[in-house]
């Protein structure tokens, strides 16, 4: 009875703390890095070890709320998110799953309902793919003192390895009449989403590895659904069951959540694709800059394909310049961009906009409001993000009101 009285928020926090458990032991050590010796060539260094470590002088961290933890986009180099900094979102904590007991059941409109152990999944042809996963509720605003992590840190990128779902579909003999499948997780929310079967044949994967090692618990250990370019929630983690059907199941996460109000009172459902987006991660709040040459850096991505260009404006959107894209420029993947700029020390605003290979250009918040109305929901917001550069070199986020 006492447990029933525990406030949900407390429970959520407890779950989040558990989820971050792996970080906690390191924290105290990290907060007080041992002083570096005056001359490292005059003292023997640390012996070799079983696991690598981060320099105690580097302390990138996820920023956790009750239900999610955001990637520190401003701390990243290149396009791969270190696995322990991959964003997290779970609906009732991170389950602990014994890989020996793990099983994936595929049934419903199939010729042969089958059960696959983790070992079975790993025997199938393995494929690797570098792509991002982004939560569709990934835009925060409201004050100037916000970092890229706080604005849109619910996106991360890994090299995912696993078996193509199409391979498993052939194995079980998916009926040509099946049009949807239910993906179900083995977390405490037994979270489910309905996915069109065509995505399963196209490029869906059951991923069991991330950046060269077993997938992390926070990302779905021992196996998750990976749907390149589709909203994060559909990439069901800890997947235990796939049921082929001829209709969507209309679960809570595809009706009362992960749907967005648009114009005329309408509610948009099954908004799977993540539209193109970019953000400047340097310079950004709370960094400061000095007059002179600045390499503006950032990330751009699209759930529909490749980034074809990123344009940068250094005069509040009056003029736009083509940024350099850093190879590799991959399909449905974070792509790094940079633009060399000489800052004359005056107040200005800098911003970026991404274009993908469907011809889509990242919109401004105003364009989104024009398209969806002032009642537009919080999902699938990908507006151009501006940073204010002040004369004293401080950088501030430029929040825009839309409600």
């Amino acid at each position: 009875m006492k447990q029933d009285q525990i406030k949900r928020r407390t429970l959520l926090r407890a779950a989040a703390v558990t989820a971050l458990g792996s970080l906690v032991p390191g924290l105290s050590a990290r907060q007080m890095p041992e002083a570096a010796p005056e001359d490292p060539t005059k003292v023997p260094g640390t012996p070799v070890g079983r696991l690598g470590t981060r320099s105690p002088f580097e302390q990138p961290q996820k920023k956790a709320s009750d239900i999610s933890a955001r990637s520190p986009l401003q701390d990243f180099y290149g396009i791969i998110t270190p696995s322990d900094l991959h964003f997290e979102r779970s609906h009732n904590g991170v389950p602990r799953i014994d890989p020996q007991k793990y099983e994936l059941l595929i049934h419903g409109m199939v010729e042969r309902p089958m059960v696959f152990t983790l070992k079975d999944l790993k025997r199938f042809p393995a494929l690797s793919r570098i792509a991002f996963i982004e939560c569709s509720g990934n835009f925060r605003s409201g004050k100037t003192t916000m970092t890229p992590q706080e604005i849109c840190g619910l996106t991360s990128q890994s090299e995912w390895t696993g078996v193509m779902l199409s391979t498993l579909f052939r194995e079980v003999g998916v009926s040509p009449k099946a049009t949807w499948f239910l993906a179900e997780g083995s977390d405490a929310a037994v979270m489910t989403r309905s996915i069109p079967v065509r995505k399963g044949w196209e490029d869906a994967m059951i991923a069991y590895a991330q950046n060269g090692e077993a997938i992390r618990p926070e990302q779905g250990y021992p196996a998750r659904l990976f749907l390149p370019g589709w909203e994060g929630n559909t990439n069901v983690k800890w997947i235990r069951r796939i049921e082929l059907s001829d209709q969507p199941f209309m679960t809570r996460e595809e009706t009362s959540k992960y749907t967005e109000t648009i114009k005329d009172g309408k509610i948009r459902q099954f908004s799977f694709d993540m539209d193109a987006r970019s953000i400047i991660t340097y310079p950004s709040y709370p960094q400061t800059v000095e007059k002179g040459w600045i390499e503006i850096r950032g990330l751009a991505w699209s759930g529909r394909g490749k980034i074809t260009s990123v344009e940068v404006s250094t005069d509040a959107g009056k003029h736009w310049h083509v940024a350099t894209l850093q190879e590799p420029v991959l399909d449905k993947a974070h792509t790094a961009f940079r633009y060399g700029w000489y800052w004359d020390g005056q107040n200005t605003e800098i911003m970026s906009r991404a274009v993908d290979d469907t011809g889509y250009t990242q919109p401004t918040l105003q364009q989104l409001v024009n398209a969806r109305g002032t009642d537009m929901g919080g999902y699938h917001l990908n507006p151009v993000t501006a940073w204010i550069i002040q004369r004293d070199g401080t950088v501030l986020f430029k929040p825009e009101k839309f409600r």
Partner: protein, 184 residues
């Protein structure tokens, strides 16, 4: 599997079509690998808890509003408030003429079956999966009643639940974004 195709094409160019046939036969990935094991109907039934909007998958049992209210007070109110309106972020009940347009079951959920499915899967938050099938029916009945979608004497079952028309259903449209040079 692409590498196999590439290999085959290379051989093809190198003038040995007969050998190619043999290589393809030996090297092509099989249609099936025969990994994994067949699932028995029993084990499928033991984990299959899905419910479709037409009511397929709903278990036997009957739910009553009064029983649901008592259960709600005991197991749901600690997070959702005694009437399901008190905690904005966990609001369940839509109040008439609500000018804040707070999303709740009565004004946003398109299918009544989802209510049963979600409560059974995930609630109560601190003891998921602890409710019996009939208890879930009771709670479903109470929440539909609280949202003024059914009368207090209406019973909820596999037969009646799918027939409840949710007011928000008519507002739902499928994704109309297609990429390209437009913002939707």
């Amino acid at each position: 599997m692409r590498w196999n195709l590439v290999n085959c094409r290379r051989v093809n160019i190198s003038v040995l079509p007969c050998l190619l046939v043999i290589i393809i036969c030996c090297n092509r990935p099989p249609e099936r690998f025969s990994f994994g094991r067949p699932a028995t109907q029993r084990e499928i039934d033991s984990v299959n808890i899905s419910i479709t909007p037409d009511g397929k998958g709903l278990p036997p049992g009957v739910g009553h509003v009064a029983e649901g209210k008592a259960l709600f007070i005991a197991k749901c109110a600690p997070c959702h408030g005694p009437t399901g309106t008190e905690v904005p972020q966990y609001r369940l009940v839509a109040t008439p003429n609500d000018t804040t347009h707070a999303k709740a079951i009565g004004n946003y959920w398109p299918y009544a079956t989802t209510l049963y499915d979600y409560i059974r899967r995930a609630m109560p938050f601190n003891a998921p999966g602890s409710l019996s099938n009939v208890e879930v029916y009771h709670l479903t009945a109470f929440l539909l009643y609280s949202n003024q979608l059914i009368d207090s004497n209406r019973v909820i079952s596999a037969r009646t639940l799918p027939n409840i028309v949710m007011p928000a259903r008519k507002w739902y449209v499928n994704d109309d974004r297609h990429g390209g040079n437009e913002v939707r």
